[in-house]
């Protein structure tokens, strides 16, 4: 199964988004939150993200959903730090909506390309019809 890691400046935001995504996914779907910093402050920490990627990987790759600014730079730093060969992609999409879409596809056995495509659909999702 494809893993999903939620990166946010806020630990609470990342955990909350994870919670929403898990509601749409089977319980064994590896969705991890990597938000905030070790001391509980607002920010992103490449090492936290690296650990989450390694934990989320089941051999089929990992999709990262990121919030703002330095979250992207920290995510890229984390990818550089990985020792093992893990196929990791960053989805350029709204973090919450993207995570929910990605969770559904990952949960139903989609591969990394499909999970990424699902996350990207969130960019054009209409909320009011």
């Amino acid at each position: 199964m494809v893993g999903i890691v939620i990166v946010s400046h806020s630990a609470k935001a990342a955990e909350g988004i994870r919670e929403l995504a898990m509601q749409m996914a089977s319980p064994e779907t590896p969705i991890l939150a990597a938000g905030g910093m070790e001391d509980g402050g607002i920010g992103t920490d490449a090492f936290r993200i690296q650990t989450a990627i390694e934990e989320a990987d089941r051999g089929e790759g990992v999709l990262l959903l990121v919030d703002l600014g330095s979250a992207i730079m920290s995510a890229e730093t984390a990818i550089d730090f990985l020792d093992e060969e893990i196929d990791v992609r960053i989805a350029d999409t709204p973090v919450l909506e993207g995570a929910v879409s990605a969770a559904v596809t990952a949960s139903s056995g989609g591969d990394l390309d499909e999970v990424l495509a699902a996350a990207m659909e969130a960019r054009s999702m209409q909320k009011l019809s």
Binding site: E38, D39, G41, I42, G43, D45, A46, M73, T77
Partner: protein, 207 residues
């Protein structure tokens, strides 16, 4: 140069911590008002956790980078962290810094920051003080000046680079949201880079 790498990092850290409010104030004008706070938090942790007796310059620089990545929180974490880790790679296993090492470190740092920040010179970033600093350092070394004089030239060029950032608009980071309104304010990252280089110069001057 003699190997007291912890003391050098200490001089850098203290200079950043002393200028915390000024850096944050610059960032308040064109960013998200956290640069000084973030950098000071990072260096406070660096000074607390580094092994003071380790003489392997490369190892200490790498450790510094890791702690900054872990504790700074904003974009300066990965940027300065990458810079230290690239410099650490150059200095791996070494206990003294030669002129060639200094050049090689600066070259590796610039490459790392460009890659990490996807930035080039002229975009109102730390590169606008570091790249001219590197060029001045190389010019000094190549003309046979002694290293202390070269570090002086390096800082003058970095300082001129900071002044230059007042004249240009930001296209990277939070400041880019301001467009032309970012003109007139010096870049906080270029400024903290200048302080770093000045601290290294001041440390070396006392050796």
């Amino acid at each position: 140069m003699a190997a007291k790498i912890y003391e050098c990092i200490e001089v850098i850290g203290n200079k950043i911590i002393e200028n915390k409010d000024f850096l944050t104030d610059l960032d308040r004008q064109i960013g998200d008002a956290d640069h000084g706070i973030n950098m000071a938090r990072g260096y406070t942790e660096v000074l607390k956790t580094l092994n003071q007796d380790n003489t392997d310059i490369g190892a200490v620089l790498k450790d510094t980078g890791k702690v900054l990545i872990k504790t700074v929180g904003g974009a300066s974490g990965p940027l300065y962290g990458t810079a230290y880790m690239k410099a650490g790679k150059v200095m791996s296993g070494k206990t003294e810094v030669t002129a060639d090492d200094a050049k090689a470190m600066m070259d590796a740092i610039i490459g790392g920051i460009k890659l990490r920040g996807k930035a080039e010179q002229g975009e109102k970033t730390m590169l606008d003080s570091i790249i001219p600093a590197y060029e001045a350092l190389c010019a000094g070394i190549d003309s046979g000046k002694d290293l202390k004089a070269c570090l002086e030239d390096m800082c003058s060029a970095a300082s001129a680079g900071v002044e230059y950032t007042k004249t240009i608009r930001a296209t990277k980071g939070r400041a880019s949201y301001l467009g032309d309104r970012s003109i007139g304010v010096q870049d906080p990252g270029a400024t903290s880079s200048l302080y770093t280089l000045e601290a290294i110069r001041d440390f070396a001057a006392k050796l």
